[in-house]
């Protein structure tokens, strides 16, 4: 396979750029506001709070002209977004952890109603015990709602992904809600530079929101009403087909974004030094960024190892995983667990490989409850996997 690392291109042309050094949350808010949603409805929850506060600041300064609805719960936030989207508006919200779980029913609703709501979710632990640090079990537990799911690993990627998500969600071949996940604190509260293009660039890229269906008194319809089994069967298949189309459209939209803004974040996986690798590490989110340092050091030590960071969990990049499985043994680090089975990425990677490869796949659970996963930990996990000394689906660094 062709491995490439094309994530560090600089923006070309004579464009005026702003370098914004700020937290993941505030850069996500900046991106959302630049996309000019007609409606934002959100309820604050740690660690998403500063994102909503940033949007409130845009409202206070008169820089955001849309409707900002302060609701009384996350369930209401999603309901407000559904209503606004069904009325033909571009909509945005953000949440985290228990807030996301409270939305659960309405997440299904937004996806089945084919409403292109865009949402940032800050990956935070689910209680009890009460804990505000990061792990991915909140969004993983919403995996089957029909939402497209991105996992970011830098503030620049958050900015680019939020903008692209509006384009993707509203694309006539997709028309689905999109969730952009960022790790609590590691991304949400960590300042990093991000290059922000001019407003004009975003306006031209996204265009005006065109609703593919909406409540319209001149064209009355009933939506969300009873449909028989045969029709419902079709509705589900249509969602699946849109997800499969998204696999091609995500990189395409990212290429278009690169043309107008200069930055490319858009493959289903980010490949890092995979050429000639005999082992490839798979991970998501912030661990994926930390893994680059581990890969550099392991390569300096003579290991033939590369990194494939999964950016998109739904739709699942099955074909890309199969290609990786033909090249190298795979090591998977999961910051989540499907209790009673194993890490979700590990499980899905193995399912993708079924019948196509006889390589070795090694899975680790790490960093649950926000436990730190440093590049040293990642190196240690990789060494164990390569030497074959890890247990099946090992809980890394468990202190008994």
């Amino acid at each position: 396979m062709q491995c490439q690392s094309n994530y560090h291109g600089t923006r070309g042309g004579e464009e005026k750029l702003t370098i914004m050094i700020d937290t993941g949350n505030r850069i996500a808010a900046k991106a959302a506001i630049m996309a000019k949603p007609e409606v934002v409805a959100a309820y604050p929850i740690t660690p998403q709070t500063t994102l909503v506060e940033a949007i409130a600041e845009y409202v206070a300064r008169g820089e955001y002209k849309g409707e900002f609805i302060c609701v009384e719960s996350e369930h209401s936030a999603m309901c407000a977004c559904i209503g606004a989207s069904a009325a033909g508006s571009r909509t945005f919200t953000a949440t985290s952890s228990h807030g996301l779980l409270l939305m659960h029913e309405m997440l299904h609703w937004a996806a089945l109603a084919r409403l292109p709501v865009v949402m940032c979710n800050i990956n935070r632990v689910i209680g009890p015990g009460w804990n505000i640090w990061t792990d991915e079990n909140d969004s993983i537990s919403q995996r089957d709602t029909g939402w497209i799911q991105f996992y970011c690993s830098s503030n620049q990627e958050i900015f680019d992904t939020v903008i692209q998500s509006f384009k993707l969600a509203e694309h006539e071949k997709i028309v689905l809600p999109v969730m952009i996940n960022l790790n609590a604190f590691i991304l949400s509260h960590t300042s990093m530079p991000a290059e922000i293009p001019e407003q004009r660039v975003v306006d031209e890229f996204l265009g005006k929101h065109i609703a593919h269906w909406k409540s319209d008194i001149d064209n009355p319809t009933t939506f969300g009403n009873i449909i028989g089994p045969a029709y419902y069967y079709k509705v589900r298949r249509a969602m699946q087909q849109s997800h499969l189309r998204a696999k091609k459209l995500i990189p395409q939209i990212a290429k278009d974004w690169k043309k107008s803004s200069g930055y490319f974040h858009g493959d289903l996986l980010e490949y890092y030094k995979c050429e000639g690798a005999e082992d490839i590490l798979l991970s998501m989110g912030a661990i994926g960024a930390e893994s680059k340092i581990a890969i550099n050091e392991l390569q300096n030590e003579g290991q033939k190892i590369g990194l494939a960071r999964v950016r998109v969990l739904r739709p699942f990049p099955t074909e890309e995983i199969i290609k990786l499985g033909k090249q190298a043994n795979l090591i998977v680090i999961d910051r989540n667990i499907s209790v009673g089975l194993e890490g979700v990425l590990f499980n899905e990677v193995k399912a993708a490989l079924f019948g196509t490869s006889d390589i070795k796949a090694t899975g680790f659970i790490a960093g649950l409850g926000g436990k730190d996963v440093t590049y040293k930990d990642i190196k240690s996990m990789c060494r164990k996997a390569i030497q074959g000394t890890s247990k099946a689906q090992e809980w890394y660094a468990m202190e008994d």
Partner: protein, 91 residues
């Protein structure tokens, strides 16, 4: 009527989109036209638009779509509508 291309549960206005719902009925509203004072409360409250209003404000019941919910009988102030059990269908 403009049709949307998105495949979700959207229904367009059409008489009896869910079929002849009158077959669901267990209790049947019977209207006594002599008692009816043409107040139109039944016509307003019928959730299925199964009460038809004539030009002289007299009403009739569309048994093809009336599900037999009994709202009309409940709303009728002069008891011009009573609910009767449907006869058991012959197999």
């Amino acid at each position: 009527m403009k049709k949307f291309s998105v495949e979700t549960s959207l229904s367009y206005p059409k008489k009896g989109a869910m079929g002849k719902t009158g077959s669901w009925r267990v209790f049947k509203p019977i209207l006594d036209k002599k008692k009816c004072v043409k107040c139109l409360r039944c016509w307003i409250f019928c959730p299925e638009s199964s009460i038809h209003r004539e030009k002289d404000d007299s009403v009739s019941i569309d048994y093809e779509f009336c599900k037999g919910c009994g709202v009309c009988a409940n709303e009728c102030n002069v008891k011009a509508i009573i609910m009767e059990r449907e006869e058991a269908k012959k197999n």
